[in-house]
């Protein structure tokens, strides 16, 4: 066991993959000598050289497009997009090419590219640095989308993403980069499968589903609810596509109530998808409608008002109250 931050855990996970897979390489803006703007790749260029830790020109479509070419030649590239809001120049390459090449070739070609994206708000930053675009990618078949919420998962999930033969978008909860946790570098344990949800707190009265940066918030809300005598279950989704509906369904069949929380706007978001699927799978077990807690239908607001935008403990508790009042 070792204690480390999420940023360090991803760094160690990348190092482990670079060591075990000679065809893996990292590419992105400022990831070499600077070690990335969040230092997630710190020190790796010294260890593996500039052929495997590649400082690229400043061009996101170029990063993902050339990564696809490298994958077609048998490499396993891991791209870093510097911030969530800067992924869109690469949106075409990700959705029309990366996601579709396996299907287009009837399975003859695989493009095992990983795209790391620091995402989410709460860091007091300027425009384009606080977004949560995961639903835009989840809507595209052919991609896998995962997001760790703790250091142990971060260490193992990045390695599992690199091993996966499908393209994986790896959303990193940037405001939790400095969150420390215990990492077992010998044994992945439950982190073995990055596409399964985890019940991180058991309860009987209602279920809160969250992922990435909101998992600690959901846990805090669940703890606060105990003061009112409520027993709340919390699920860390971990994977957004595929989405582990079985785990959510089992929990809802136990608790009868479901709250889904994410930073992304609720309209057209993952919460709506979960609500629809769970209403199909567990309609007669639901004691209340599924309630979503998420961003408003607006561009991510300026930093000085982001507290009003972001889901927090109180907003989740308010949703719980509404659910439990049915």
């Amino acid at each position: 066991m070792a204690t480390m931050t999420i940023a360090k855990a991803i760094n160690e996970g990348l190092r482990a993959s670079l060591n075990s897979n000679p065809k893996s390489l990292l590419m992105g803006e400022d990831i070499g000598h600077l070690g990335g703007v969040y230092r997630v790749t710190d020190g790796l260029i010294k260890e593996f050289g500039d052929e495997r830790v590649v400082d690229t020109p400043l061009a996101e479509s170029g990063i993902v497009g050339t990564a696809i070419g490298l994958a077609l030649r048998g490499y396993s590239p891991v791209c870093e997009i510097q911030f969530d809001g800067f992924v869109f120049p690469a949106f075409n390459q990700i959705t029309t090419q990366l996601a579709k090449i396996h299907s287009r070739s009837l399975g003859k070609l695989s493009v095992p590219v990983v795209i790391r994206i620091p995402y989410g708000g709460g860091i007091g930053s300027i425009e384009h640095h606080s977004e949560s675009p995961e639903a835009l990618f989840a809507h595209t078949a052919g991609l896998r989308i995962i997001s760790p919420s703790n250091a142990h998962d971060a260490y193992w999930m990045i390695q599992k993403a690199i091993e996966c033969q499908d393209p994986v978008i790896f959303f990193e909860p940037k405001r939790r980069y400095w969150l420390k946790g215990e990492v077992d570098v010998q044994n992945p344990g439950l982190s073995e499968d990055p596409f399964k949800a985890h019940v991180v707190r058991e309860g009987t009265d209602a279920t809160i589903v969250a992922y990435g940066p909101l998992v600690p918030v959901a846990l805090a809300a669940a703890n606060a609810a105990t003061e009112d005598g409520r027993s709340i279950e919390v699920i860390d989704l971990r994977s957004i596509s595929p989405l582990d509906f079985d785990t959510v369904e089992a929990s809802v069949k136990k608790t009868g109530r479901l709250i889904v929380a994410h930073e992304a706007p609720t309209f057209g978001g993952i919460g709506g998808e979960i609500a629809a699927r769970i209403s199909e799978r567990a309609f007669l077990h639901l004691e209340a409608p599924v309630i979503r807690v998420g961003g408003f239908h607006m561009p991510y607001p300026v930093a000085k008002v982001e507290e009003d935008y972001l889901p927090d403990i109180d907003k989740i508790l308010e949703a719980l109250d509404r659910s439990l009042a049915y």
């Binding site: 479509s61 170029g62 993902v64 497009g65 050339t66 696809i68 070419g69 003859k108 052919g142 996966c164």
Partner: protein, 397 residues
């Protein structure tokens, strides 16, 4: 050309005489060896490359150009008869494709756009497989690894970045091969695109990446003068070959209707790339004689006189003149070429009729390489739904 190294003497000669030299905005020189009159000229750099083409190879060039033109006619007819959803004709661009295709080696990897039927022929892709995409039974059809000929990419210029990434992979493989004394032949990549796609940002980014890493890639731009209805002048105010100067690698405009010059220039460029001297941009100056696709109507946007003027520069006519004048091919040869073309057309027609409509289960099977629960769930639903119809039919019987 910055730090780019050319073969000894080539840089000076190119700078003094050839197409890479013109400053942006200036008229660019065009490498031409075989003129529309069928007479062979000379070029200080590329005549040496043209001399490598023996008479037998010239006859192959002609035969391939004639066969792919015949194929193009047949595919157009198949579309008109409702057998294909769409066809993308190449007529007029045979020399650009057959010449460049023959300059590639088997170990080179080709990234086509969606009109490179001539290159596909040279790379031994089964042309009936190629029609699957246009019949609506596949989005690909052939195995790209068999002939190192990638699937057609329909989103313009996306493949130019894939080409550069692939070339970056070759660079890494070659370093590994050097370390292990491997005898694998050196390889390069060709990225095909057109004058319209040259405006896409991915072309710019691919050239930036290729230049930065000196990737072994040849950018082969067929300037066929029309991006559907928009002329080249709307895409660029300078000759496209001149753009290479801005990236710091050689750019050459070649007469795209001159199969000898295209072959010579492409062979030079591929050697340049394979030897680690970095990328090259070739602008093959040619003309799309027909429509953009069978859904297009060129009479809406261009004069027939322009088409007629380009027909005078036809790539097949000029090589036929040369072969006849030099006594390199007789009447029997041309008759055989025609017969081979008809045979190909018959093959393609009969095979197209027989192309199997796939089962949608094939689509389910190939969304992901690894197991995916949503795919499994939706497939299971579809199976149950389909089975319902079957039991209804049984009941009705």
């Amino acid at each position: 050309m910055g730090s780019t190294q050319l073969p000894p003497g080539t840089e000076e000669t190119l700078a003094a005489t050839s197409a890479a030299a013109a400053a942006p905005g200036e008229p660019v020189e065009m490498v031409q060896l075989l003129g529309p009159d069928g007479k062979l000229g000379s070029d200080p750099v590329f005549s040496d490359y043209a001399k490598r083409i023996d008479p037998e190879k010239l006859r192959v060039f002609y035969a391939d150009m004639a066969r792919i033109r015949r194929f193009d006619q047949e595919a157009t007819a198949l579309q008109r008869q409702g057998e294909l959803a769409l066809w993308v004709p190449l007529t007029g661009q045979e020399a650009a494709q057959i010449g460049s295709g023959h300059a590639s080696q088997p170990q080179d990897y080709i990234f086509p756009t969606y009109r490179e039927h001539g290159v596909a022929l040279v790379r031994n892709v089964d042309l009936a497989e190629l029609l699957k995409q246009f019949r609506g039974v596949s989005n690909g059809g052939w195995d790209p690894r068999e002939n190192n000929f990638h699937l057609y990419t329909l989103v313009l210029a996306a493949q130019t970045l894939h080409a550069v990434g692939y070339a970056m992979g070759i660079q890494r493989d070659q370093k590994l091969a050097a370390a292990t004394d491997s005898n694998d032949p050196k390889a390069a990549v060709i990225a095909y695109f057109g004058d319209g796609a040259s405006s896409e940002g991915d072309v710019h980014e691919s050239m930036v990446f290729a230049a930065s890493y000196e990737a072994p890639v040849v950018f082969f731009c067929q300037n066929n003068h029309w991006a559907i209805s928009v002329p080249t002048e709307v895409q660029t105010k300078v000759p496209l070959a001149n753009r290479a100067k801005g990236y710091g690698f050689p750019g050459i405009r070649v007469d795209g209707n001159d199969v000898i010059a295209v072959h010579a220039v492409t062979e030079w460029a591929l050697e340049h790339a394979r030897e680690g001297r970095g990328p090259v941009l070739i602008e093959a100056y040619t003309y799309r004689v027909g429509a953009h696709t069978t859904a297009d109507d060129p009479t809406k946007y261009r004069e027939s006189a322009e088409e007629a003027a380009w027909r005078e520069k036809d790539p097949l006519d000029r090589l036929e003149k040369y072969l006849r004048a030099e006594g390199l091919a007789d009447e029997a040869f041309f008759e055989q070429v025609k017969a081979d073309g008809d045979e190909l057309a018959t093959y393609v027609r009969s095979t197209t009729h027989g192309l199997e409509v796939p089962d949608i289960r094939e689509a389910f099977a190939n969304v992901y390489a690894e197991q995916h629960p949503l795919i499994a769930e939706e497939l299971a639903w579809f199976e149950e739904y389909s089975a319902g119809f079957e039991s209804d039919e049984e009941a009705a019987n």
